[in-house]
Amino acid sequence: MWLLQPFNERATRLFLGVLLACLALVTVLHLAVPAGHPLYVSAYTVTLLGKYLSYALLAVAVDLVWGYLGILSLGHGAFFALGGYAMGMYLMRQIGDRGTYGNPILPDFMVFLNWDSLPWYWLGFDMPWFAFLMVMLAPGALALVFGFLAFRSRVTGVYLSIITQAMTFALMLAFFRNEMGFGGNNGLTDFRELLGFDLRTDATRLGLFVATGLALALGYVLCRAIVTSKLGRVSVACRDAEARTRFLGYRVERFQLFVFVVSAMLAGVAGALYVPQVGIINPSEFSPIFSIEIVLWVALGGRGTLYGAVIGALLVNYAKTVFTGAMPDAWLFALGGMFVLVTVFLPKGVAGLLSYRLKRKAQQSDDSSTPQEATS
């Protein structure tokens, strides 16, 4: 079974082991250690970590298309936001008549706009299975249409990056409009419960954190299974020599479309896990800057490794939390500085540093040069 293939790799087992150990550690430190103890992890921190993990899943999705397929998407924030909106719509419907206006069907902002019935695209979002399906299908459908048009016309490279930016910008403008029926610039908020669990309790927050961690683990394994399959090697072939791959008889545009859609769906899942933890989804998630930031995480962590994307997302967002707390004005300078330093000194990102260290270690233990080097 190709999905189980990654478990044969040492690196994947190591990654999953570390991730699951961290999840368990945080859970224990949150539940078993008394509040006030220096090792205690507060519910606030748990939610913050959960948010980082959803960003990490998003970064893995971006690395799948950028690192292995060579498509620099500067619009993955759009898929993330669409997944988030699908989740937000479900959470809005769960509020029921407990909103400010007490309307059992219409969310508050619709009552405020004097709408008398739900728009058709809100129907079905009271059912969790439908909403969770939409979390993947909505971004997947957008990626399918967008990718079909772009890849069929053989739009790649910097042109594709630019139109993905345009796509997310256009969606941001559209979602800002009140008439769109997604809450305008306030977005969707005031969520209460998810599947019957009160979102404001610490137990639910911990549950969401663990669920996000597991989703990251599953997403990582899925991506790893894709990149280690023959399809992954075809993707790398498309990345490095597209015309050559086409000439071997592979329909490059279909491979690009497949991987792009899978990646968009993963981004949607990340968005859906992000929304209940931060408690709001609004059009700012569509902003082009956010999509560029995701690419920065991946670049910092190390492109084309998947675990590098996770490291990058966690590092940058942790740094962002620290900096915006201590010196809010300095954050953008710090981000820019980090990016410059990493590109100059660590062209393969943090992951490159790790694998370089591992290689050096292997070389020291085995002093005779490998046959690969003998021929180069």
């Binding site: 072939a237 791959t245 491979f255």
Partner: protein, 281 residues
């Protein structure tokens, strides 16, 4: 009436029921047939009324000065460029002008480009694996597994092209000549009927050239591949060619054995005469 009775004829096998194992019909001899082909780029006739026939199993060299239309001819055969007029047939059944690039590739026409393009990030073995004739749709590719049969085929080709020791190294570290052989190996993985090879020995050392000549002459033959080589290097052409075609300004100037062709006064004038060193050699 005869149509209806033909439907009742139990010995008749309908075309669509014939298994597509070897779709190329070469019973009439030629595997590739170009007739009256003309291509114009912005008023410039790159190919002018070209007629060319390649027999099954033949090794043919095509020579000609720069701009003679050699690469354009390859582009037409592989579907990259569409001619303004003329017809191109693969065997006597397949009209190549009505097919797309991937369709032509999967039919068994392999092309080696002038500049070697191998997938540098993948290993030599993986390069060959991707090139293999297989179901190249998405889901079969995703779930594809390495069977013993596939492994044997890859080993066999590795042996043919002499890269067995380098199988697990990335293709990016190969020398220029080794990359050319790997490319030829990738073509062989597709079990092609016709190999189009564009300037295989450009930039090769003397030794590498000899090996390449051995490799190419070993590939052509009845029941194996037909090989078309476009080459500038006269010494190399002389060492491998049985049949030589000289192109000039988009059409065939002369055709025959190397000796016949090199004595043709027209050829001497437009091509061989232009380079007296080569002529002396």
């Amino acid at each position: 009436m005869s149509f209806i009775s033909s439907l009742a004829d139990r010995d008749r096998v309908f075309d669509f029921l014939v298994p597509a194992t070897s779709p190329v019909d070469v019973r009439h001899g030629p595997i590739l047939y170009l007739e009256d082909v003309t291509v114009t780029f912005d008023g410039f006739k790159a190919i002018d009324d070209l007629n060319l026939t390649i027999d099954d199993g033949e090794l043919r060299c095509i020579i000609g000065p720069n701009g003679a239309g050699k690469t354009t001819m390859m582009d037409i055969i592989t579907g990259k460029t569409r001619p303004d007029s003329g017809s191109v047939w693969f065997g006597s059944r397949h009209n190549l002008l009505a097919m797309s690039e991937p369709e032509i590739a999967s039919l068994g026409i392999g092309r080696k480009f002038q500049k070697p393009t191998v997938f540098e990030a993948l290993t030599v073995f993986e390069n060959l694996e991707l090139a293999m004739a297989a179901d190249k749709r998405i889901l079969p590719t995703l779930t594809a597994r390495m069977s013993g049969e596939i492994r044997d085929r890859i080993e066999e080709v590795l042996d043919t092209i002499g890269l067995v020791e380098l199988r697990d190294g990335p293709a990016g570290i190969l020398s220029h000549g080794q990359k050319q052989w790997l490319e030829i190996g990738m073509l062989l993985m597709q079990r092609p009927r016709l190999l189009l090879v564009d300037e295989p020995v450009a930039g090769m050392t003397e030794q590498e050239m000899e090996r390449t000549a051995e490799l190419l002459t070993g590939l052509a033959g009845k029941g194996k591949q037909s090989v078309v080589v476009v080459e500038h290097d006269m010494g190399f052409v002389r060492s491998i060619a049985r049949q030589v075609t000289v192109l000039h300004q988009g059409s065939v100037l002369a055709e025959g054995s190397m000796d016949q062709v090199s004595q043709d006064p027209k050829v001497v004038e437009v091509y061989l005469g232009a380079d007296p060193d080569e002529e002396a050699a």
